[in-house]
């Protein structure tokens, strides 16, 4: 019953899971920061931060599930966390990540500004994933400044 998908790492290739394989392997998919397709909230439990990543639209959930893998999240937070677990909540169009060892001891011991992991959520939203070109156009971010 558990959808704990530690193992489902889906490799390191950024183009591993596009929806309709067209025969143009050379053209890289556009990349999109998670902030444009998801929102998130984080909290703590001891030295573990959790990040709930929620699709902004229900139709983005499968993309998140496919691309925001344990392996990629672990790489994103390299040097900041000691381990990553992922749980799926299709009913909320959400993924829950546990980021172990993220809080420098956590609770009252931690010296960090973000000792309770409150903004690890937005740190995850910095991550870029490959998205279908149509989606990239649809969510096209406003140019920064």
């Amino acid at each position: 019953m558990s959808e704990k998908s530690r193992r489902k790492a889906s490799g390191a290739k950024p183009r591993s899971g596009r929806p309709k394989p067209s025969r143009r392997p050379a053209a890289p998919l556009p990349r999109c920061q998670l902030r444009w397709i998801a929102h998130a909230r984080s909290g703590d439990k001891g030295d573990t931060a959790n990040v709930g990543l929620i699709a902004l639209e229900p139709e983005y959930y499968d993309l998140l599930k496919r691309e925001v893998t344990v392996a990629r999240v672990a790489r994103h937070f390299k040097g900041m966390v000691s381990g990553v677990e992922r749980f799926e909540l299709p009913n909320l169009n959400a993924l829950n990540f546990l980021l172990h060892g993220a809080l420098d001891g956590g609770g009252t011991i931690s010296l960090k500004t973000d000792a309770q992991g409150k903004v690890y959520s937005t740190a995850l939203l910095r991550m870029e994933i490959p998205v279908p070109p149509a989606l990239a156009r649809q969510v096209k971010p406003r140019p920064r400044k």
Partner: protein
């Protein structure tokens, strides 16, 4: 009150539980507006974070009448006339490590307000295990740390407080006994919501789906406005009226479903997004959200917008409670201090880094022994670390933030005297030290453990106190 359900029929009475405080220090106007802004049946107020009990224990050791959330009493003074007039009941774990002292203070206020004979206070005790620790350890209950596996005996002489998390049971008992205000120690935040709903509907406490539903309701409102527009990331600019944030209200139905809403005319928003963000807050394994009352499966929750600022929550499944209760132990760990200075453009980041190198050299020369020294650059990378990218050379200012921690007080004390000297002996264009020397803080750490519920539950007591 009868409301239309989705099929157009009436689903009978609803029980309205309002969230009034999400933590000790939350907005003081919220409970007042909750009881005056529209109909509610219950007001629940959660005061206890993980280490709050140890702060209260310390206060109690200095003054035997202290040891509870003190602002609860003046707050009750403001709302007691309203709740008596309207028949609203209150559940709160404001009692901390001295629920009796808290209950007596509330009774005294009630008498002063002329409410003698009109108010009953339910007092729940039995969560406090501090005086029983040696006996428990000796009789084979090691209270091992759930994260590290170490037995409590390792830190026994540093323990400041130890409390088992109780569930809804004693709250239901107190309400059955006619209590208008139920004051507890370490009862779970979810129990404060489950108790009223189970009492009103007379549900058996072993109806696990209902337990799970009430648990989810409690989890949604336990952080106050954090489910109704506060701290909401999705479209945050579109959240209006947070000058008067509407705190959440659960309208529970007899079928176990409920609606999350807020009073009309208040700010914020109750939407699928606002509730979803709160649901994932502090989440572990969503299949098993464990409380003393049962285990809720968060992957079964269905959310639906059911009107403006109304979200219907249904479909929740759960499983039986476990034989264990969680115990929250707080123990003395050591000391820490954090010093900050602000460096300005040009080269703000480089100046801050240079200051850090100088400070560390001085600490080293002094031979101070720290368990950890942590440097952060606020405005460059303090919260997102390396993910922040290279620092902006044009940044108008950067705050240098250095924290130290040690088992002994002396090195931390000495550190606090090394920040200000940097102003005249370090890199230029520095400011922001008006606050003076940083304070040395005692570090009280949290030790989560489990205990057989049979060791605790027989000692749980419910008393009904009359004004």
């Amino acid at each position: 009150m009868a409301v239309k359900d989705a099929r157009g029929g009436t689903s009978g009475r609803v029980v309205r539980v309002a969230g009034g405080q999400g933590f000790w220090g939350d907005w003081l106007e919220a409970p007042v507006r909750q009881v005056r802004g529209g109909p509610v049946d219950y007001l629940m107020m959660d005061y206890l974070a993980e280490v709050t009990m140890s702060i209260m224990q310390k206060q109690k050791s200095r003054d035997p009448k202290a040891g509870y959330a003190r602002d609860f009493v003046p707050l009750m003074e403001r709302i007691l006339p309203d709740i008596v007039e309207k028949g609203i009941k209150v559940t709160s774990n404001a009692g901390g490590v001295n629920p009796r002292g808290c209950a007596e203070a509330v009774l005294e206020v009630a008498r002063r307000l002329g409410l003698a004979g009109k108010l009953k206070v339910g007092l729940v005790t039995g969560d406090d295990l501090l005086d029983r620790l040696d006996g428990l350890i000796a009789s084979g209950h090691p209270l091992s740390n759930m994260e590290t596996g170490r037995p409590l005996a390792d830190i026994r002489d540093q323990v400041l407080s130890a409390n088992a998390y109780l569930g809804m049971g004693p709250i239901v008992t107190a309400l059955e006994g006619g209590a208008d205000v139920v004051i507890t120690g370490r009862v779970t935040d979810t129990g404060l919501t489950l108790g009223p709903i189970f009492h009103e509907f007379g549900w058996p406490t072993e109806d696990w789906d209902k337990v799970a539903a009430g648990t989810v309701a409690g989890h949604i409102i336990e952080c106050g406005a954090q489910c109704s527009g506060g701290n909401l990331l999705k479209d945050w600019r579109s959240v209006k009226g947070l000058g008067n944030p509407g705190f959440p209200i659960v309208e529970a139905s007899p079928d176990g479903s409920f609606v999350v809403t807020k009073h009309p005319g208040t700010g914020g928003v109750v939407s699928v997004a606002s509730v979803s963000e709160q649901l994932v807050y502090e989440m572990g394994d969503p299949h098993a959200y464990i409380t003393p009352d049962g285990v809720a499966d968060f992957t079964s929750i269905q959310l639906k917008q059911a009107g403006r600022d109304r979200v219907r929550v249904s479909g929740i499944r759960g499983g039986p409670r476990t034989p264990m209760l969680k115990v929250s132990v707080a123990y003395f760990y050591g000391y820490k201090a954090v010093g900050t200075l602000v460096y300005s453009w040009p080269d703000a980041y480089d100046k801050a880094r240079a200051a850090d190198r100088i400070l560390r050299e001085r600490l080293k020369d002094l031979g101070l022994d720290f368990e950890q020294i942590l440097t952060e650059y606020v405005g460059a990378s303090a919260t997102h670390g390396a993910l922040s990218g290279p620092p902006d050379p044009e940044a108008p200012e950067i705050q240098l933030r250095v924290g130290v921690r040690a088992r002994e007080r002396a090195p931390v004390e000495r550190f606090t005297r090394e920040i200000a000297p940097l102003v005249l002996t370090g890199p230029p264009s520095v400011t922001g030290f008006a606050g003076g020397r940083p304070a040395v803080e005692e570090v009280v750490a949290y030790w989560p453990a489990l205990i057989d519920r049979n060791q605790v539950e027989p000692g749980v007591k419910v008393e009904i106190l009359e004004t």
